[in-house]
Assembly symmetry: C2
Homo-oligomer: 423 residues x 2
Amino acid sequence: MSSPLRNSPQSILTMLRWLLLLIPLALVVGSLNALFLYLLEWASDTRALKPYLLYFLPLAGVLVVFIYRRFGKNAEAGNNLIIDEIHQPGAGIPARMAPLVLLSTVVTHLFGGSAGREGTAVQIGGACSAAYGRFFKLSGHDYQILLSAGVAAGFAALFSTPLAATVFALEVLAVGRIRFDSVIPALFAAILADLVCTAWGTPHTQYKVDFLEHVMLFHHLVHVDLLLLGKVLLASIAFGIAGFLFGETTFIFKDLFKHTLKNPYLIAVVGGLIVIAIVSLIGHQDYVGLGVNAYREGGVSIISAFSEGGAEWYSWILKLLLTAITLAAGFKGGEVTPLFFIGATLGNFLAWVMGAPVDLFAALGFIAVFAAATNTPLACTIMGVELFGSEHLLYFAVACFVAYFFSGHTGIYSSQRIAVPKS
Amino acid sequence: MSSPLRNSPQSILTMLRWLLLLIPLALVVGSLNALFLYLLEWASDTRALKPYLLYFLPLAGVLVVFIYRRFGKNAEAGNNLIIDEIHQPGAGIPARMAPLVLLSTVVTHLFGGSAGREGTAVQIGGACSAAYGRFFKLSGHDYQILLSAGVAAGFAALFSTPLAATVFALEVLAVGRIRFDSVIPALFAAILADLVCTAWGTPHTQYKVDFLEHVMLFHHLVHVDLLLLGKVLLASIAFGIAGFLFGETTFIFKDLFKHTLKNPYLIAVVGGLIVIAIVSLIGHQDYVGLGVNAYREGGVSIISAFSEGGAEWYSWILKLLLTAITLAAGFKGGEVTPLFFIGATLGNFLAWVMGAPVDLFAALGFIAVFAAATNTPLACTIMGVELFGSEHLLYFAVACFVAYFFSGHTGIYSSQRIAVPKS
């Protein structure tokens, strides 16, 4: 570890090498994610116009299971495979993971499964970077860095939150700790992939928190309102427990399906039928698909949860249940957008109960339930800033870290390691 | 690690216990920092009115050395003692550290030493929390958490950046890694201490970055301008090297003084005389004291560096030199505000060289040189958001992490451990 003055030329070369290496990767990952977001929008709009597509969900499930069993190799393991491979390269991430997950996620959404999309983006990023790494014969630490950069690129392009994506890629590896080794390549990849995806004209949802506070204490403007802070604390405990329940429920359904139905095709059919049954009981399709926008007048969605009366008290429970069943049945997509939905609608309800600003609490739930379920409180705090601005930064941090501490150690990624226990 | 559902009541009690424990601590640390900032303002204003006070600097040095030798016990070790004690409790932090460092920092600034103030705030926080921990007979992990919370509280009250303070308190312990164990108590303490300090009416400097960018790529609005990003990269390498040079220069002067002059009183006198000599050569006092505001028409200061022509090309070198000599001579205060000065003026100069926005580059230098010298890139990125808003978040992150990677492993805190080497 000699002087940086002597090292600088070498360090500059290393940085330049990564930069050049990452430009083509970011182009591919950003463009594939633009295509993915475009297809996803098409699938959501199509299902909104033809609600009867939902009745083909069991069939779609059979298709997804078939594709993965026939062509999938070890791609089925999804995000966990990528996390494992960053920890300890070995199993190999097949390039086919990218088209498979892209296609099956679009199928899931077209036929009304309740799922997310970040798993898809992360797997596109991971699979592309793994193939790219093999092409350039990278190994060891360089290969691990490249995979992290791929994850960051995928996540960044999807949500257009490059810094949150970078921190997510580093933070998701282990509970309770973040290491900085691959931060610069990951940040480059995230910034570039977001740039590429946005330059394709991919629209990203704009969220708005209008609540502004001017809190005076002894005639001086201060950063936080203590009463509101207390409400945020209480709500955040609920967000943490909701994040935990989501992971648990998915796990319980997976286990139940596996032990009773056994056959994966049967699991997909039965899972699809249960989703159809629940949606028929509810009477509308607000709680399937992505849920970012409502496709009927007065429907519940992530966006509607930012306004008073924009969610029912039980919205988050239905979304949690439908997503857990969809994913346990073998459909693809991911968990994050449903976690946003669960958090935003729960926040909406808690704001009503506690007499707190609805838009702020929807935003807090949005990021905090995600933080709790994935054990990434820092990435989610930063995501709060990237999506909602820095005005409420302190509430974002309190919500994410408190929810994280109340969500237990399991989380939705079984490959995540526990570096520093929560208590 | 049982289910959070079973654990929650226990976790809520733990959180409540910390909250109650930290309220009195935050009251004391916040109030002491309000007093400190008030005295510091008085000292700076007084010296501006009576520039001849500078000629008493050698005498003031003798006083500071005397106070520490007569009453200091192990308080002389300052921030390093606190970092060591968080890593491995044992040596004990004497309560007297708080009044000693407060008094001697005010003396340093009254008589025109070039120094900062964060060391003082951190030591006030550390000393108060150590005494408080002894009072409540806390030990082991609880005592370490309390110390981290004290550091966060001191830093937060001083700069009114509670989240940056929280992250700083966790990040400063080791290079290349951050652990989340004490984040919630630290965040509480930081928010409350900032609240208390602000409620006393303590004014905090407002910085402003007016530069706004609307970058279009293929007719679509994107997050960053690639050309500007390239300039930020180059400037950040310079910021990293400046941060390294600051630590090195201070170390070299300390070493030189110790080996040639030996006697600490003699060191203080000679150090003071060198400062007087340099200031006389320069012809004005822009580069001593805090340097936040200029006390003459057209003077160079941190604030002036945010405007075109607000700094000379050599401003950062003079500030670096004068601060290194002042601190090596035994004066007190800290390094951070001088690091802000060095960064902002260097940023001002580099913006002029590269044809980049001056206010943005001053802001980048402000946080990035600090990030480089203390190895706390994440805290400094967040500080950027807390001081300058989230508009330029990506540039903040790039600047802080690149500067961090180019600053070597030593940093200004010798007690900092290396958890994950930079390369």
